[in-house]
Amino acid sequence: MITRILATAATEIRIASRNRWVLIAVVLMVLFSLVLSAAGSAPTGALGADRLSVVAASLTSLSVYLVPLVALLMSFDAVAGEVERGTLPLLLTYPVARWEVLAGKLLAHTAILILAIVAGYGAAAAIAIVVDPAALSGLAALWRLTWTSVLLGATFLGIGYALSSRAKRVSGAAGLAIGLWLGLVVLYDLGLLAAVVADDGGFFTKSIFPAALLANPADAFRLFNLTAAEATAAASGVAGAANAIPQWQSLLSVAVWPFIALALAALSFRKVVP
């Protein structure tokens, strides 16, 4: 079992590095992290927080867009690509279970994601610490951001595998992935904010809004990181509006979502008829 999962993972990593996906993911994360840490370096003194905590807060806003995007870009091809190339029927005649195939792909893609996240955050952190040695006290915030980013990535990898199994065509899977990213990461927040404004502190704002934030893995991720770093809570509109949500609830959402997404992926993949 382990041999088969590792064999699949090794092959996937090889394919991803040949296709430049590893390079693209790492460069994307490093580039955006550096730009953000440069842009966000001005107002540190005013907030009374150390430099690294501020960088971590900026990186949270970045990661909530970028990590799901990178994860979906890596995963949308996972099943639909095999179907379209015609490699899936042969693979499924091998003594390998379907969940083992997915586990192997997940292992490889998560490893690439961790590499990209560590490279990106590491670059931003290194600059912050070099400029201001006191920033070392913000390492806890950065560590929290790192592991939650990996969980967020795993969630979107699972979602990507699920829609890749359902699409059966690479082009369809790519469209679904982009649509899902726009929906969950961009439009979802806009819709919620619009509803909050229209509701003006009524039933929706008090009861539905917090639940809706927790239900979305990207929002739960942002919520958790921003409520943990109290110094920067003021910086975010969404987190500001939902300060009432206890931290354990957002943590739970962040921790449970990967399992829901992967179960969804396994179920969808099981239904694929080669």
């Binding site: 041999t3 090889r14 296709n19 190339r85 490699t87 042969l90 499924l92 005649t93 003594p95």
Partner: protein, 298 residues
């Protein structure tokens, strides 16, 4: 010995349309069986059921003492898909190594396996640069991993040149001699005639014929054609003597059943002085094949 593959009364329907109806067959260890049929006759569907890729709608299938698709069956069955494709970013060696690890085999033999199918020189090149014939060889190499008990080969020789085809069938002979059962589909009738033990003909999802080629030839009882070249001007004399004859190009043609063959020959030999040449054309493989696959009005 019990058979490697047993199928009884297999039926597969897609949305009410029957792709396979009431198919029964068995393949013994060491037996090489060719599956013939026109496009859409159900060959690939049958193979996919045997491999456990699609579930049958009815009937019993037993592969290596297990249900198709069960781990015990998959461990002993190898498959070569029609137009085998692989990830173009991997090299042949990497691809075979991966498949060997999935089967729990020692990957040290990967290079040897590629050399066995004549790909040793290209093992470290990406599959994206391979020709169709070379990809087919990668497919063949992966089907040989771990000495499978049953090989299911979907048009294995498409894309191979004549020399490679001969090498391929020699490889199969060796496997069959070691006790592996082989089920292969093909359109190349002449090569399956010489290289397989038994033929199965599918038509419209039904098994319309089964047996060795001589069996099928006898059972089909197709007419024998005789081509007569008449001496100048004697055409009409011969036509008069042989009312069944028809004009075909320069000569005359007459066809008769197997039983009438000698009698017809005797009548032709009576016309000795008027005939330049006589050619006897037995029913070809293609004729026999068409006979069986058209019986259902296909």
């Amino acid at each position: 010995m019990t058979s490697t593959l047993t199928i009884s009364h297999l039926t597969k329907t897609y949305d009410g349309v029957a792709a396979l109806s009431d198919v029964s067959l068995s393949v013994a260890p060491g037996e090489r069986v060719a599956l013939l049929g026109h496009n859409g006759a159900g060959k690939s569907t049958l193979m996919k059921v045997i491999l456990g890729l699609i579930a049958p709608s009815g009937g019993e299938v037993t592969v290596c003492d297990a249900k198709p698709g069960q781990a015990a069956a998959r461990e002993q069955v190898a498959y070569l898909p029609e137009n085998a494709t692989f990830h173009s970013a991997l090299t042949g060696l990497e691809q075979i190594t991966f498949y060997m690890r999935l089967r729990g085999q020692d990957t040290a033999g990967a290079m040897e396996l590629l050399e066995r199918v004549g790909l040793g020189h290209a093992a470290r090149r990406r599959i994206g640069t391979y020709s169709k014939g070379m990809r087919q060889r990668v497919g063949l190499a992966q089907a040989l991993i771990g000495a499978p008990r049953l090989l299911v080969l979907d048009e294995p020789t498409s894309g191979l040149d004549p020399v490679s085809r001969r090498d391929f069938y020699e490889l199969l002979d060796g496997l069959a001699a070691d006790g592996a059962s082989i089920l292969l589909s093909s359109h190349a009738l002449t090569e399956v005639e010489a290289r397989t033990d038994r033929l199965l003909i599918l038509s419209g999802g039904r098994m319309v014929a089964e047996g060795t080629l001589p069996d099928l030839r006898r059972e089909a009882a197709l007419p024998v054609a005789m081509h007569i070249t008449a001496l100048n001007g004697y055409d009409s004399d011969i036509m008069a003597a042989l009312p069944n004859a028809i004009r075909v190009g320069e000569g005359l043609q007459i066809s008769c059943t197997q039983e009438e063959k000698l009698a017809t020959l005797a009548r032709i030999s009576e016309l000795r002085g008027k005939v330049v040449d006589l050619e006897i054309i037995p029913p070809s493989l293609e004729d026999i094949y068409s006979h069986y696959s058209r019986r259902d009005g296909q």
